[in-house]
Every structure is written in C-alpha cells, then in structure tokens.
C-alpha cells in the first residue's frame, strides 16, 4: 500500500483541478440544486427537507459514478493507468487516489447543503456522525461501481453515455428527493441495487423525516463490501 501516493494523487487530480477549472464542482451541484428547487416548487415547500437530505446523497453518489469517465479516460485514452502499473503502487492505491480526488469535487456542494440543513434545523451531532458514515460507504460503493464500469469498457465514447444513464437511474429514481414511504417495499428492494437507495432511506430515518428502516443499514454495508470486492476483481491492473 502507498497511501501517500493516494493523497498526493487526490491533491493533484482533485484540489489542483478544482482551482484551475471549477466546472466539475459546478456540474456536481447543478442537478441536486435543480431538483431541490423543483421539489420546493411542486410540494409548496413541504418536501424540501427530503430534498436537502437527498441532496447530500445525490451529490456523493453521482460524483462517485461519474468518476468512471475519468477512470476510463485515464486507462484508455491518456494511458496514465498503464504508466502507474509498472511502479510501486497497487490498484487499490490508484482507486483510492481517484476516489478521493472526486470526493474533493463534492466538498463545496456538501458545504452548501450543510448550510441549508442548518437553516432547516436538521443537524445534530449524532445525525451528522451517522450521515458521515453513510456518505463514506456511499462514496466507496459508487466509486467501486465506477471502477467496474471503467474496467469493462473498451471504447472511451461509451463511458459518457453509460455514466449519464447510471447517474440518473441510480441517484434520481431512488427515494432521494421524496419520502421512501411513497414506494412499496418490493420496489424499494429492487431500487436498492443502487447504494443511493439504502443511503437515502437511512438518512430519512436518521433525520426524523420518515420511519426508521433498519434493514437498509445491512443492505448498504453488504452492497459496499460486494461492490468493492467486485471492483478489486474487475479492475484491470495487469490486463489478461
């Protein structure tokens, strides 16, 4: 393991990139803010707290998923992944570095949503701690999905479309911007293929917006482990 490399990679590929071209940050907060506005207008403000909590989930999940584009670009187009293979780092160091750099893109958006959460009196120390735990698992699981996609893709052009579709299906369809109780349980379990679903359900319960649904804690932990294991298996470090 070379955690120092992962941190420097995040510094260069995340922080420096934000400083020189903030479009990533703006792009990442555009969708959740737009949906927050729509929910506010359509529900006359009654569901806005759901959209604030869901905004955290969407921001982290969509960033994790769209990192597939960069992972595929660095592997197929720039050949940067090949460059790093013949060094002392492992595929895990590389994955963590890329994941952390994308996590940095979400920091300004998370700060903005935190301000909204404070304004709506949603935060308490315990709730914040639980939320951090949920968002860490969401980051790991969605990044793992993105590495599985990036490793499977053979032509760079395909990745833009796939991540666009997945980002919508896996972050907008789940109950991120509306109460999960609107959906039958069977549908919830189907939607739980996206880690954003258990994450949103756990947070709605934690923030007192909907009843607690404890099964989803195990679903999120299980998914994180499974997706990470699959990513480690499928990430093509030495190609076959």
């Amino acid at each position: 393991m070379n955690p120092k490399f992962s941190l420097y990679f995040a510094w260069y590929y995340g922080f420096r990139v934000i400083g020189r071209g903030p479009s990533y940050v703006i792009a990442s907060i555009t969708t959740p803010l737009t949906l927050l506005f729509l929910v506010y207008v359509l529900s006359n403000g009654t569901l806005v707290q759901y959209a604030v909590v869901g905004g955290f989930v969407t921001l982290v999940a969509s960033n994790g998923l769209t990192s597939a584009s960069d992972a595929a670009f660095l592997r197929l187009q720039a050949k940067i992944q090949d460059l790093f293979i013949a060094t002392s780092i492992s595929s895990i160091d590389y994955m963590i570095g890329l994941t952390l750099s994308f996590l940095l893109f979400t920091v300004p958006g998370l700060a903005l949503y935190s301000v909204l959460a404070i304004l709506y009196h949603l935060f308490s120390p315990v709730r914040v701690l639980i939320m951090i735990g949920v968002l860490v698992m969401l980051t790991l699981s969605t990044s793992a999905i993105s590495f599985i996609i990036a490793g499977a893709i053979k032509h760079i052009r395909n990745v833009w479309g796939i991540t666009g579709i997945l980002s919508i299906i896996m972050t907008i369809l789940p109950p991120t911007f509306y109460p999960y109780t609107f959906l039958p349980k069977d549908i919830l379990y189907v939607l739980a293929i996206s880690p954003a679903t258990p994450a949103a359900i756990i947070l709605q319960g934690t923030f007192g917006l909907s009843p607690e649904f404890y099964t989803m804690i195990f679903v999120l932990i299980g998914e994180t482990v499974v997706y990470l294991s699959l990513a480690k298996y499928f990430t093509r470090w030495r190609e076959k």
């Binding site: 070379n2 020189r20 002392s88």
Partner: protein, 279 residues
C-alpha cells in the same frame, strides 16, 4: 539482462499478437522495430508487467515478470505508446506524481523532477498546464519521468511517433542521457540505427532478425539501393517501386537510367525479408 522464452499472446478476440518470441536482450540500448501491428507494443506491455502473456516466460535480471511482479515493477519504468499528459496538470506535477508512485519522498521527487525537466530543456514550461504545450514538449514530460525514475530498465514504446524532425532529434538526445538499460520500440529505422547497439525486428508476432546494427548491415557492404518506378532486372517490387541492390561503383550508371540511389539502411534488411517499408 532480459530473457524472453517462447512468449505467446492471443487476445480474447482470437488475435494472435505474439507467436513465440525468443530473445536475450543484454545491450544498454536495444530497439524493437517493426511495422504497426507487428506485436511490438504487446511485447513491451508483457515485459513491463502490464499484460499477461498467454504462455511463455520473461526473466528480467533474474526475476520472473509473472511470479516476481512487485519486484520487477520496482526495477522497471515503462512509458506507454501514445501516453498523453493530463491537460490541466503541469509537467512538474506529472513527473513529481510519477516519482511519488515510485516511492520517492516528496522533496526528492520534486528535485529530481526539476533536474529531469532541466536536462530536457523544458524547465521553463514546468508550471504551465500541459494542454498549452507543443506535442514535442508533452512527449518530453514522459521522457523526463523515465530519466528521473532511476529504474534499472526503461521501456519506451514509440517515444517519437508523431513528432516533427526537430522534436525527434531532441528526444533522441534526451534518451541517450538515460543511465538505465533501455528498450525502445519504433517503426523508424533511422531511429533504431541512431540509438541502439542491438536491434530486434518483429513481424507478424515473431522475431525475424536480430543482432547489432553493424552486423545486420554488413551483408550490404559495398552496396547501395537503386529505386525506380519502371521495372529493373532482378529488382524487388514494392507497390509501384522497384528496388535493387547494386555495387557502389555502378551507382552512376543507374542514376543515368533515371533511378534514385540511396545509402543502405535497416529498411533494406526489412525489404530483403519480404516486408515493405513503413510509409
């Protein structure tokens, strides 16, 4: 020393890229030459632990690339063909990050990166985003990584493809500064002649010729190449060109006949093997 024993590679789509490569590479600078699609990049990727061979064995300084992968990776540096810098990062950041991946301390990485960029004459661009740099300078960023890497063996896959003649000469000059053992793939014969002590010619996934450049050219001693667009007795036809190897003393006669007469190069070793010149 690199020993390549009967290395084969068949991709999942059925393409047989390598059909049993055998070679012992021991010179300081060795070129692997061949046309596009000959199998050069596949071979380089196997040697530098980026790709698994279907069968066969590669030993680098006593280490098996499949069994001792982590040890091999510490000793080699591999610059992929068509590697492109991340546009928004600077040359200094690229080389520093690469050295951090090789477990350099941050200060050492930065210092070595600066030295390497300086030795390549691109220190003045160290803080400019890479997407503002010329193709030659971008390529030199990767050569700088190789120079700074301190690796025992450096693999450079087509380091000058797509560069203008001046940039190519600059990169050659930089490559000569490397202290490591160097394996370079190229399809430019003059590059192989200029740089290397030993040449492996690859075609159709096999090594078709190997040896020192002077030995490969020795069979043409006293000969020059005459080219014509009209048929010549005993000439080899390559597309619409007829090529014949003649004594130097007969050159003026062939020039009077309208032929172009050229010095013999490694191209001609290829031609004699029935392989057309890279256009």
């Amino acid at each position: 020393m690199i020993q390549i024993n009967n290395v084969r590679k068949r991709y999942s789509d059925g393409t047989e890229a390598l059909k049993g490569i055998n070679a012992n590479i021991g010179k300081r600078i060795t070129s692997v030459i061949g046309r596009n699609g000959a199998g050069k990049t596949t071979l380089m990727r196997i040697l530098s632990t980026q790709l698994e061979p279907s069968s066969g064995e590669v030993i680098i300084d006593g280490l098996d690339v499949m069994k001792d992968t982590l040890e091999v990776r510490k000793k080699v540096c591999s610059i992929p063909q068509e590697a492109t810098p991340i546009g928004i990062l600077t040359p200094l950041e690229h080389v520093t990050l690469y050295l951090l991946a090789r477990k350099f301390q941050y200060r050492d990485a930065r210092r070595e990166a600066m030295n390497a960029l300086d030795s390549l004459g691109i220190l003045e661009y160290k803080d400019k985003p890479s997407d503002t740099l010329s193709g030659g300078t971008k390529r030199k960023i990767f050569v700088a990584m190789a120079i700074a890497s301190n690796a025992d063996t450096v693999f450079l896959d087509e380091p000058t493809t797509g560069l203008d003649p001046v940039s190519r000469m600059e990169v050659w000059s930089s490559i000569r500064k490397l202290q490591s053992n160097l394996i370079v793939t190229t399809h430019y014969m003059e590059e192989a002649e200029e740089l290397s002590q030993e040449v492996f010619m690859v075609e159709g996934g096999l090594v078709i010729e190997k040896g020192e450049v002077k030995d490969l050219l020795s069979r043409f001693r006293g000969k020059v190449r005459a080219e014509s667009h009209t048929p010549l007795d005993g000439a080899i036809r390559i597309s619409n060109t007829f090529v014949k190897y003649i004594d130097e003393d007969d050159a003026s006669e062939y020039i009077r006949m309208g032929c172009t007469v050229k010095k013999v190069t490694l191209d001609d070793v290829f031609i004699l093997r029935g392989v057309s010149i890279e256009s």
